[in-house]
Symmetry: C2
Subunit: 396 residues, 2 copies
């Protein structure tokens, strides 16, 4: 039959990164294009222990239906965790468990955006979230990201211009893909602007615990006095992504609607995954685990930046220094075509992600994204050497 | 702040059943209101064995990101399974794994329904699906369910009247809540009408394997020549609901959009859950497990109907005989208020679900739903005795 798709999904196209990742799945290719945590960062032994215990001691709780809000002991534990660790929960906030932070984006968009409403996004930003917003036929308006976060003048301009702006979407810590972190001053400015123009904020913080250098900065939710911020947390980077567990904090009145949306999507998050995270937070040394993780990634991040300094920067490509997260953003010298560079590099068996995949709106992009968490050190060294050699040749 | 919710979610209210289930969580209450599979029906030993093995042998596959379509070996296995078991997949169909069949309803509604579009539903029908359709601001139009399925004259009338009808939603086997099964003739009629009025069909089949009496009937998808049917399958009733695994079969062109929607919701379904189902299908005797399940439920269903015949039918309440599934639908004698009956019964510590919770549109309802899979035999006996005694007193 001739399908009559809804106006929401009519223009939807598959995620461009997925197509690139397909060529990266070739075994000879060195992939600097993924966003996967390092497999040796997974707490495999702990997960195995917990899994065996819960399936032995309380199998029916693992296998029976749960409630949409999440496993009650886990919610209680998480509230404490979020309060102590990030100060990201206020007295009139609720916290629910979600099936990965991606679901926070979906539910928030569904609850607050009509078709054609504007959501202001960092440019560049995480393509997964952008695509979710697009899937509700929202209009995405990009505001450039600088080394210390969104450009605030341009943010205000965008808010002033777009009367139907309803939300601002931000990843303040070690942003994907730019690697940048928003300064405290800008976080406060952003909140003030959201108040002034009466819009919501989605604060997406999947990488917040992965700080390798410098001091952590309070999250925007911690100074949310009027229930304007939806805070999204994830266990994908600090426990494991395959278990699909995240959480969301929002004002209880907003949350009521969002719980119904969550319920309509998947009834509840897999019980096994919730119980693994719960037990891990409660009975294992989460702090030590995160320190260990950061140790692994700090080394990899340092190695990656050293290699870039040695092999790539001399060719004219620049990159933004990072304090944490999993990604480094590289800028091509002016006058060179980024897409053709990335394509040619793939032929040399090194795969990066062309930056235009991360743009909220169509436009020029002269950058590409590198990931250093998935490749081995050997692959990083070889991959960036190849990149440097090729760039030298390409820019000549 | 003063929330401006999207028009989609503005009228959403929490699921009425959930409120009733709250009183059912009182330990003294005999709950005939749940929809949970019997805990002794879970293949606990197999799940424990599989879990231990996969976490030992391939922990990284269990914990790392997967693809949105699902775990590739599981998809291959499922395609075979669906083909052999139900004939519910054609050459130009695709199959993807979802996080419970609920997600099929969400994704299908999102992909095919604009706000205000009509989806025709059985009346009564599964409230979880109805609420999902409502969450996209679709208009629900109900068509009465008879002992052999939807009333076909009224279905055609509804299709004729509602020019913006886009889909028909049906649970042909052991429908929740009415317990009825659609005849083969009506399945064919329904498909013909869908062709005639050019609408899609969502065929929801979570209970199809739970047949205790009589012969199974071909699913509607099996005679879908023009990619009109979205088939939804679930492992909640035949493996376990807490793992959140279902699957969806649809024409490849429709599926492309639906995969993007799935991706935007939860990236992919929990890997552990997928691998448990995969290994269970592949390496265990699924057929014997289902037979065992049906043995447990056949006894419970027979007991429940016997008890109703003995204690409840003599009071004037009637019920519809079932061939499978988990639910029995009871009709009050004319002139009595069902809601007040259910409320009073709850005070006597027996909990059923008032039938109006299952109506697609506001209206009168004189029925209530009983579940027999969750209570123990002792609870069933006691609960239905109490119901009979109370009904005798109430109708006097």
């Amino acid at each position: 039959m001739d399908y009559k798709f809804s106006s929401k999904v009519l223009a939807l196209k598959p995620n461009a990164i997925r197509e690139i990742l397909k060529s990266a799945s070739d075994k000879d290719v060195i992939s600097l294009s993924a966003g996967n945590p390092a497999p040796d960062a997974f707490p495999i032994r702990a997960i195995r222990e917990i899994s065996e215990r819960i399936l032995k001691e309380t199998p029916v709780s693992v296998l029976q239906y749960g409630v949409s809000e999440g496993y009650a002991p886990f919610i209680a534990e998480l509230k404490q965790f979020v309060k102590e660790r990030y100060g990201a929960i206020n007295y009139d906030d609720e916290l629910i468990v979600v099936s990965g932070a991606q679901q926070v984006m979906d539910i928030s968009a569904k609850t607050f955006l009509n078709e054609g409403d504007v959501i202001i996004c960092e440019s560049p930003s995480f393509v997964g979230s952008l695509n979710t917003f697009r899937s509700y036929n929202a209009e995405l308006v990009g505001v450039p990201v600088e080394q210390d976060g969104m450009n605030m003048e341009m943010l205000e301009k965008a808010l002033k211009k777009n009367k139907n702006a309803k939300m601002i979407y931000t990843i303040p810590n070690f942003q994907n893909p730019s690697g940048t972190t928003m300064s405290l001053q800008k976080r406060k400015q952003l909140y003030d602007l959201a108040q002034k123009y009466d819009v919501m904020i989605i604060e997406d913080n999947p990488y917040g615990d992965l700080r390798y250098f410098g001091e952590s900065i309070p999250c925007i939710k911690s100074f949310d006095t009027d229930g304007r911020v939806i805070y999204s947390g994830s266990f994908s980077k600090v426990v494991a992504p395959g278990i699909r567990v995240g959480f969301m904090v929002a004002n209880e009145n907003a949350m009521k609607k969002m719980i119904i949306c969550k319920q309509g999507q998947d009834v509840h998050t897999t019980m096994w995954s919730q119980m693994i995270c719960y037990e891990f937070l409660k009975n294992y040394d989460f702090e030590a685990h995160v320190e260990n993780l950061c140790g692994i990634y700090r080394k990899k991040a340092s190695l990656c930046m050293e290699l870039l300094d040695r092999y790539v920067v001399p060719t004219g490509i620049t990159y933004r220094k990072i304090d944490g997260g999993l990604f480094i953003w590289c800028d091509m010298p002016k006058g060179h075509d980024m897409m053709s560079f990335c394509r040619e590099l793939t032929k040399r068996k090194v795969c990066v992600v062309p930056g235009n995949a991360f743009l909220p709106q169509d436009g020029e992009c002269n950058s590409f994204r590198i990931n250093f968490s998935t490749p081995t050190d050997e692959q990083l060294i070889k991959g960036i050497e190849i990149m440097g050699d090729f760039a030298k040749e390409y820019f000549r």
